[in-house]
Symmetry: C2
């Protein structure tokens, strides 16, 4: 019983098995081109198990010149159930294709700085949600061997594949619905929380766009995710004289709706309220909350896109519009 305090390497395995490091490598990787006798295989495997040998991924990918790591920056703001589900599906699908998905906690890193940090890991593909990545960042990543760079956001970025998730459509959808229901003085809740601008701004813009050229007005309603903030907005409601609200998402909608009802405002008679994301809670509210249902891309499709791009890095960047938005009308509008 020999104690080996430091991490065992393939050389240790070789020594214990009485073979060369090459043979160890052949056996443990089941190299097809080389035939190793069964007794030798056993000796090697037993030695590896006895030592608790675990191959060193860095050394391996250094030697190979490439890895199967797909890197995603971890979202800086707590992700909602929609995005979480999408992420899980994506991880699963990429796992099936033998990629390793890694979420990189890039707190405090901005733009090209972040891209550099990601590039240091030499991932084979990088998936970037939001607008943090510019053309220079893409160039850095490609230069560092990333065979696929995919952005998930509102705009195309030079050199990268794009899954266009245009949240304008969400606002557009909601506004069109409210207008069709006869509403003209429309408020738009904009979360006061930092980190949500990436979604809230385009949603607001979509409302403005849908309503431009009509007789409707659009009023921004900054709102923090607290009861107090909602109560305050509700207290000032009469002066605003709004007859409808698009509330960024179902949670903010619920928050505001509750505050309005507590102030005696009738929904939908006095004010129509519509949220977004089609969360379960909207169906549980009374009146039931109308919402904009959002269709995210399927994780399997995205995994397919990544795999294709990795296999054919020369291919022209694809751009897909993948955000489907549709109104689910319930009782609040």
């Amino acid at each position: 019983m020999v104690q080996i305090p430091n991490t065992p390497t393939s050389a240790d395995v070789a020594r214990l098995a009485g073979v060369s490091r090459a043979t160890v490598s052949y056996v443990l990787n089941n190299t097809g081109a080389v035939r190793i006798s069964e007794p030798t295989r056993r000796r090697v495997r037993d030695a590896a198990r006895e030592l608790g040998y675990v191959p060193h991924a860095a050394a391996r990918s250094l030697r190979a010149g490439h890895s199967r790591m797909v890197l995603m920056p971890a979202p800086a703001v707590p992700a909602g159930p929609l995005y979480s589900a999408f992420l899980n599906e994506l991880q699963w699908a990429l796992g099936r294709l033998d990629y390793t998905v890694v979420q990189y906690g890039s707190v405090g890193l901005e733009g090209d700085e972040a891209a550099r940090a990601w590039a240091e890991l030499r991932p084979v593909a990088v998936l970037v949600p939001g607008t943090g990545l510019g053309p220079r960042g893409v160039a850095v990543l490609k230069r560092s061997g990333a065979r696929a760079v995919v952005t998930l956001g509102p705009v195309r970025v030079e050199g990268a594949h794009a899954l266009l998730m245009d949240h304008d459509a969400v606002g557009h959808c909601a506004a069109t619905h409210l207008y069709a229901r006869g509403r003209r003085r429309i408020g738009v809740v904009v979360p006061a929380e930092a980190g949500l601008e990436a979604y809230s701004r385009p949603r607001l813009a979509g409302v403005r766009q849908a309503l431009s050229g009509t007789d409707a007005t659009v009023t921004e309603l900054p709102l923090a995710h607290t009861e107090e903030a909602a109560a305050e907005v509700a207290a000032r409601w009469p002066e605003s004289a709004l007859d409808a609200v698009f509330a960024y998402n179902d949670e903010y909608a619920m928050l505001l709706m509750r505050a309005l009802m507590d102030e005696g405002v009738r929904i939908p008679e006095d004010v129509a309220v519509i949220g977004a994301d089609d969360l379960m809670l909207g169906r549980l509210l009374r009146p039931r909350l109308s919402t904009v249902h959002i269709e995210l891309p399927s994780g399997r499709d995205l995994a397919g896109l990544v795999d294709r791009a990795v296999r054919d890095p020369g291919g022209a960047p694809e751009a897909h519009t993948v955000l489907g938005a549709s109104v689910v009308r319930r009782e609040s509008t």
Copy 2:
């Protein structure tokens, strides 16, 4: 203007700057022990920038023999806002200490298999939520150079530091409260969704424990996260003759409460309802939802524990109980 199609290495930088690779390394790492002339520094830096040089993390840590990577398995089930916030704080705090946090997408990997996969990356520390890691997994990780292994779960694991998050306390807390309010026939919602057993089972156990030896009865109520399932449970309510429910968390509480109210059940007169997690939505419901407030460890504290463990790997494994549970009574109980 020379085109370099493949990823530039420090050798490329050295060539372009007309110096040796050693000098490049000295300059780019600001090595204190060696003094390099200012002109040389400039030449090296310019060359690096011109080539878009990004160091190769794997090569670096291979050479160094260690990395600053803290690995966490990515949660297989969409994380709630509580856990997301905790995770963000942790990432931030570890980032401040110059660690790189990486969430590893270990879909489909179980137990020791997973530990092996993590060990291949040679992380300096591993943080594992839940119960997926056993003593053998810990051994594999330590063997592979992990200087700190921390579990976040209900039990201590041999050889690892532990942040004991005993969800029994949540159920215990809720049950004690309901009993004190005079309730005796107590239902406990158990989510039908897979992946939640890790939390739901101990919460149920806590209820049982709190009520053992009393005249109260405990009834399991399996419930899927859909309106239909909730309606079904509510329809069968009269036969059950329950006078209180602890609903796993606020979302399931809301779901069931809504269904009960739609059936004409009065809350809290006929049935007291209490949730857990103290989510915003509980305050917005009518009647306002009583809940069990859960205090997770602060990310900064955990980061501190990790850092201490990394610096002193020989130290005895610490175990801290870090889950605080307290009832927030509102109107539903």
